[in-house]
Symmetry: C2
Subunit: 231 residues, 2 copies
């Protein structure tokens, strides 16, 4: 929570109650929003023939609903859209290197969103959802690239999942064995941070003549670039 | 495939047959090995009360078996270890920014491994599996940190999943609409690469006196550091 707006609490359900590592559980809606805002790839879990299937895919959100492509798990979701899914977004922030192997772990932020996705069929809502998805990933791109034709829109299966039921977990900080008996071992302990950053935009070799990188893409690349990198 | 060793083909099953975006499907065992080698966090899918549950967790592998903690999805896996799981590892390499919204996508490498995990109960095998897990994440740490006590080992639920059934997908390169009618729009198109790198090791503030960062951690941090970063 870095925001000035008052936070709200996520509801607790049988699925989202934190059973394990409760100290890492968060009920903060602001934490959920921040995790979704910081990412654009989720792992979507569906049940196919009684077995789980976990597919990486992009998502976007308007703060109330998560939009994602239904075709990624086509066999299941399109055949039976009234199926519960689990959509998980994870950010790995670092390795927690403790004095004992047992206390090793990760610094991370993750959100698991449960629900029954709804197939978006209305033309206007589909455009709205695809716009959310596109702008969430690369703000400005919806106004720059060619928008979907009616035929492309019809070929796009878009699903909408409400942000009603979510389980959030966050771990930050140093290892937990700094005040235990292992502290006397004299071993180094700490965190090895992991960072993700955009590289320099790579123009399509098929561009016949040089086209400048549009300002919104240059801005996006600058937002979280590698340290020391020049755009 | 960057290796000199001959590649083998992954078997095709009902679950791993590529139905969608077949050009992104790979049957290369070397691709699978490289994806597993490049990562240490997976998204584990299990079925709980007929609904999917997708949990991020760390993994390690010795090339034949993937080891991971059984406690992460405790409710399901420990109660019924004879349950099929889907363990997915994904690397996101960049945004594919096409001329049309419809052609947008990701450059990525992902592996979905299916199977029924086996609970590791034998003392020696549990040590072996935990060593694989630890060394996969931070090579050298098993020989540096305090090893698990009998009590800690008993409290650790370790699962083993064979690398027998896997579906691999890889996308690389520029957008696909460089030779279509949209190429004439004169828009910029290309890839915005995404990189992941280690930051500078952060010592635990609880360290009473300065302890040097052990060489294997300094080496790990140097292996994929942010450009321009000094260790």
């Amino acid at each position: 929570m870095t925001d000035e707006t008052p936070d709200t609490l996520l509801p607790v359900t049988e699925r989202t109650r934190h059973r394990r590592l409760r100290e890492q559980g968060s009920r903060s809606r602001a934490d959920l929003d921040a995790i979704l805002s910081d990412g654009f790839v989720c792992h979507l879990g569906v049940v196919v023939d009684s077995a789980p299937m976990v597919v990486p895919t992009v998502y976007g959100t308007d703060g109330n609903t998560v939009y994602f492509h239904g075709s990624v798990a086509g066999r299941s979701l399109l055949a039976a859209p009234q199926t519960t899914v689990c959509l998980t977004v994870t950010h790995v922030d670092g390795l927690v290197l403790a004095r004992s192997v047992f206390e090793h772990g990760l610094n991370y932020r993750s959100a698991m969103i449960y629900g029954v996705p709804r197939a978006v069929t209305d033309h206007e809502e589909k455009l709205y959802g695809l716009r959310c998805l596109t702008e969430h990933i690369a703000a400005g791109q919806w106004g720059y690239a060619r928008l979907p034709s009616r035929k492309e829109l019809a070929a796009t299966a878009l699903l909408a999942l409400p942000l009603d039921e979510a389980s959030v977990k966050v771990r930050t900080g140093p290892p937990d064995d700094g005040d235990g008996p292992d502290a006397g071992l004299g071993l180094w302990a700490g965190v090895l941070p992991l960072h993700t950053g955009w590289g320099k935009p790579e123009p399509d070799p098929a561009l016949d003549e040089p086209v400048p990188v549009p300002p919104h893409i240059a801005r996006l690349a600058r937002r979280r670039p590698h340290p020391g990198q020049q755009l």
